[in-house]
Symmetry: C2
Subunit: 338 residues, 2 copies
């Protein structure tokens, strides 16, 4: 590869001037600029990004910190990741994947100076990784929120989403609506924020509706879904509809309900929240879903971070995006009482 020095020699200028035209950092006379651009073209010169990084103390690399997702990743996650990578590249940044197992390792990586900023996924209400991030002094943006709303974050607007889901069900005549949510390994009270926020939005909506809430928590698996179906029949038999905040359990819930003789949507309507429409279509009957804004959220997160790095002040204030209703065939009127 040609170096900046070779370009400078060929164009009969100093390397400083070459740098100025490449970066547009200082005005350069048109003729000089033309000579330099010609030299760049002739030598097929590409600036060495590592040297630039060392000299400017800006690597233009961003880290995506995520729990080790090797096992059960979902479609929403990859859409998010890919759109973040894409958004980063569009602004001249690279995105590295950092599967983080423990906080110690995370601090280590952050201290290496490889990245200009970090994106943290699967944020919990109390999250020690956020403390590590702050301590590292590496700028960051969170995907999800801790209890501290002041930190830079982007998130799904669960309030709006859940209320829309409830409204949709109400428009069919449902009044008794249960919530099926997901059990995690996190300590109780410290679930991923999305689970807690969805639940509190649900409780609020039920309060407005004047209906008693019914919350069922199961694993995010087919078996979990079946368990939810049994629990619904046993503990919340009056519920004619369910809001499902547990993508992995969706197929099991439908299968399990049918196995108990409860047709979907004949006896039980289902809205699956924060999932993909593709997943909704896989299931029979196809699920009515509130599609997670994974791709927009990925771009929003990466742009919020880069804006922060580059000191852009007019960053868009809205950092919450609601899910989008995608009607399927899992919602119908409640069974008529006979």
């Amino acid at each position: 590869m040609a170096t900046m020095r070779e370009v400078a020699e060929r164009a009969k200028v100093s390397i400083a001037t070459v740098s100025f035209v490449i970066n547009g950092t200082k005005p350069v006379a048109p003729e000089t600029r033309a000579r330099i651009e010609a030299a760049i073209r002739e030598l097929d010169y590409r600036r060495n990004v590592v040297a630039r990084a060392l000299a400017s103390s800006r690597t233009h690399i961003l880290a995506l910190l995520h729990p080790d997702l090797e096992s059960r990743p979902n479609a929403t996650v990859i859409q998010f990741v890919m759109s973040a990578a894409h958004g980063a590249r569009e602004r001249g940044y690279d995105l590295v994947l950092w599967p983080i197992n423990d906080d110690e390792q995370m601090s280590h990586l952050l201290a290496g100076g490889l990245v200009d900023g970090a994106l943290l996924m699967e944020v919990q209400i109390h999250d020690s990784r956020v403390d590590r991030l702050i301590a590292s002094r590496v700028p960051f943006a969170l995907i999800g929120r801790t209890e501290n709303d002041d930190l830079p974050f982007v998130d799904i607007d669960f309030d709006t989403t859940i209320h829309q889901a409830v409204d949709h069900l109400r428009s069919y005549g449902h009044r008794r609506i249960a919530l099926v949510t997901q059990r995690t390994k996190a300590a109780p009270g410290n679930e991923p924020g999305r689970i807690m926020r969805a639940e509190s939005a649900y409780r609020e909506a039920m309060a407005i509706l004047g209906s008693p809430p019914a919350v069922i928590t199961v694993e995010g698996t087919s078996a979990g879904g079946r368990e939810a179906a049994r629990a619904l029949a046993a503990d919340a038999p009056e519920a004619t509809a369910v809001i499902l905040m547990n993508e992995g359990a969706s197929a099991g819930l439908v299968k399990g309900s049918r196995a108990l003789g409860r047709d979907v949507p004949g006896h039980l309507s289902i809205v699956s929240v924060s999932t993909t429409r593709e997943l909704g279509e896989m299931i029979e009957p196809s699920l009515t879903v509130m599609e997670a804004p994974a791709a927009p959220l990925g771009r929003l997160a990466v742009n919020a971070l880069i804006d922060q790095l580059e000191g852009v002040q007019d960053a868009p204030p809205h950092r919450l995006i609601p899910c989008t209703l995608v009607p399927g065939q899992s919602v119908g009127p409640p069974p008529s009482r006979t």
Copy 2:
């Protein structure tokens, strides 16, 4: 952040010696080493990876080149990506995501000197990106193969996989087996290698079986699956089983068959190849799948690349991994002729 110079001063040695102990590149006297290690601990020193990269011309960064998957990624892809990232980190490398739209852009990125090596996904039979990779002189490994088997690659062993699928169906008594494959935007004859290889393995198996092959190609969507169901009924009515090499069409195929009055597996058995077991479980009846070895393949790919970078000679010669049969409920005996 502390620098190596500060460590050296505190330990009363030269920075060269500090470098030697950090990298283990040269023997250092035990007492000297102890002093240096103490200084490192006391200053909480972390080597700057950018400076190391520039000085050593090794960035320890790898690129994962993938088509722009923002739209329809699948679970197999993310498992692959995550395990590659994880495998890279375990060996001290970082993985950057490069969504590649065109070859030009790819060459640009490669020329920037950011990465030591590259992994290319979704390799096609004739793939201009591979030519670009070779021209860039950046070491690489392919996920999938071009027609040139000599290049470093890892891949699913479609031969073994398809033959196992056929054997599984034969053990139930099936002899007339169709293949449903996926239409892509690629020019005919230049599909992703996996599609061509699966098809030729299928044709070979049918030849051995003495049955005429029947190949149906549809979009990788629910609509495509329905189309496949119709085409099977119309064009290959004698087929009692189908090997599905089209994950996105799986739900549609089942729904479409039933809509035509053909029960699964009563009238039609299905084996879905190169997919995830989670997806198989979503569907009713749960699909018998040949699970793609996404995670092992991710590690294999990244290790093959790093071995190459580090001159490890005893790289494992086996770079093909077959899918794993995960029985579901979509395979049964063929309908008895009445």
